[in-house]
Symmetry: C2
């Protein structure tokens, strides 16, 4: 799948078996859209990576990572791709305890499907996952490598005919979808689930929240119950590869594509479809 | 660190960057003590691996894994080592959803410190970790590759002078230690924390529970509060590499090494120190 990749600044397509990313999921990652050779919001992704790495006490040099990315992108020309960055705690010794302040950088480019505006315009259908997200404030918001919950949730959706799976926490609060963040329009407010206990605070979510403030939308970040979803005027999902997709159905509940989703899509259309 | 390793039956010391074990921690592992060239409870480890793989819907052929292990062990002679098995879901495509029924086998041998009876005889001191384990019944008991909680908990213990860290769940129940299971002796009963919501159901824990039944101890598996720990007559920890270590101190709470721990140690002494 991977077209080109570097490990610690050297072209490579494999890592040592004692890498702590493999052993314990002891690391983080970013998935970045590259359009016409340019990585979208690379600075924001690297900044988020550095902040999350700090929470996990993993050393992160964003300058060095940016250098890796630009060397890899130099050979891509004006093509589209997915740029993935993985930062793991350095391999040092057996056992959970991290003994040295070192990290490993893995940067790779892989093909991306040609941009299609189908989902963006016509919307998608969500299934409801039975897999619940555990509440772990120490890891909440972080895009770390411990993603078994997402794997199990995504697996549930196979063969069910949905485009994405909506995931709740153990108390039944709506948190996110398996690979995207969720927004609701409720009585003119833009509502986003709070992610203090679980979930990934995606770059596209952050971009939307900033845009909403810029264009004067009232923003509410709160615990979101299923009852709020039922009464919501609009629902949409986002991530930094797909942009914003309206949700037209959640299981058998239908939703209309509304003005708030369309307004926010216009704010970002040029990034995804220029 | 690694002395010899195989990936999918071939001698190798690296894996492809698109391995789902690295990408998502989408896999499981076993850590096995090898004494005089023989892997202790290999059958039990492989059986547990197969059961846990089934829960995660990862294909697992224990016969093939056993073949990998014996080929690797053949070159070890009559030496001691740690045998580690990692089983990951096969690399297939980008994204959380697992599309193909395939898996990758990683088997490696690494040096083990010479067996010392110091901790076994004189006991160890536990610190209390602030990191709490999230409750996730779908993953509870499984020795999977999503181990960031253990990394964070083990990191807390650095420089505090303790040998291991005791870990509670978010409700304050005692679950395990960072790399071992916990037992208590309370009023003549052998008490082990229930692992329905989190924790790893270790092979040594299972061996101890079976031995306890065999020798007629009364066994209680239940939610264990800190108040139970305080009134416990004995505390000890175990895993399949260290065997059984008595606990003589938890933070500033002292415990005596008692007859139940010694009796169970005698049941297993030959496995670890023959």
């Amino acid at each position: 799948m991977t077209s080109a990749s570097m490990v610690n600044g050297q072209l490579a397509n494999s890592i040592s078996l004692d890498n702590r990313g493999l052993a314990y999921g002891d690391g983080l990652f970013e998935t970045i859209l590259v359009r016409k050779g340019s990585a979208l919001w690379l600075g924001e992704h690297l900044q988020r990576l550095a902040q999350d790495a700090h929470r996990l006490h993993i050393p992160c040099d964003t300058g060095v990572l940016a250098g890796d990315c630009s060397r890899l992108l130099a050979n891509l020309g004006a093509n589209d791709a997915i740029l993935k960055i993985i930062l793991t705690r350095g391999a040092v010794s057996r056992g959970y305890s991290p003994r040295a302040a070192a990290s490993h950088r893995i940067v790779s480019l892989s093909p991306v499907a040609p941009a299609s505006q189908g989902y963006w315009q016509q919307g998608v259908a969500l299934g409801l996952c039975q897999t619940r997200l555990a509440r772990q404030p120490q890891l909440a918001g972080i895009k770390h490598l411990n993603r078994l919950e997402q794997v199990l949730a995504a697996r549930e959706m196979q063969g069910r005919g949905f485009d994405e799976g909506l995931v709740l926490d153990e108390t039944g609060k709506i948190i996110e979808a398996t690979r995207s963040n969720v927004f609701l329009a409720v009585g003119g407010c833009l509502v986003s689930p709070r992610l203090n206990d679980c979930g990934v605070n995606g770059i596209m979510r952050q971009q939307i929240l900033a845009a909403a403030e810029r264009i004067g939308l009232r923003v509410v970040i709160e615990a979101v119950e299923m009852s709020t979803l039922r009464k919501a005027d609009e629902v949409f999902i986002c991530n930094s590869v797909i942009g914003i997709w309206p949700v037209i159905k959640i299981e058998c509940m239908h939703k209309a594509i509304g003005p708030m989703c369309r307004q926010l899509q216009r704010e970002f259309e040029s990034h995804f479809y220029a």
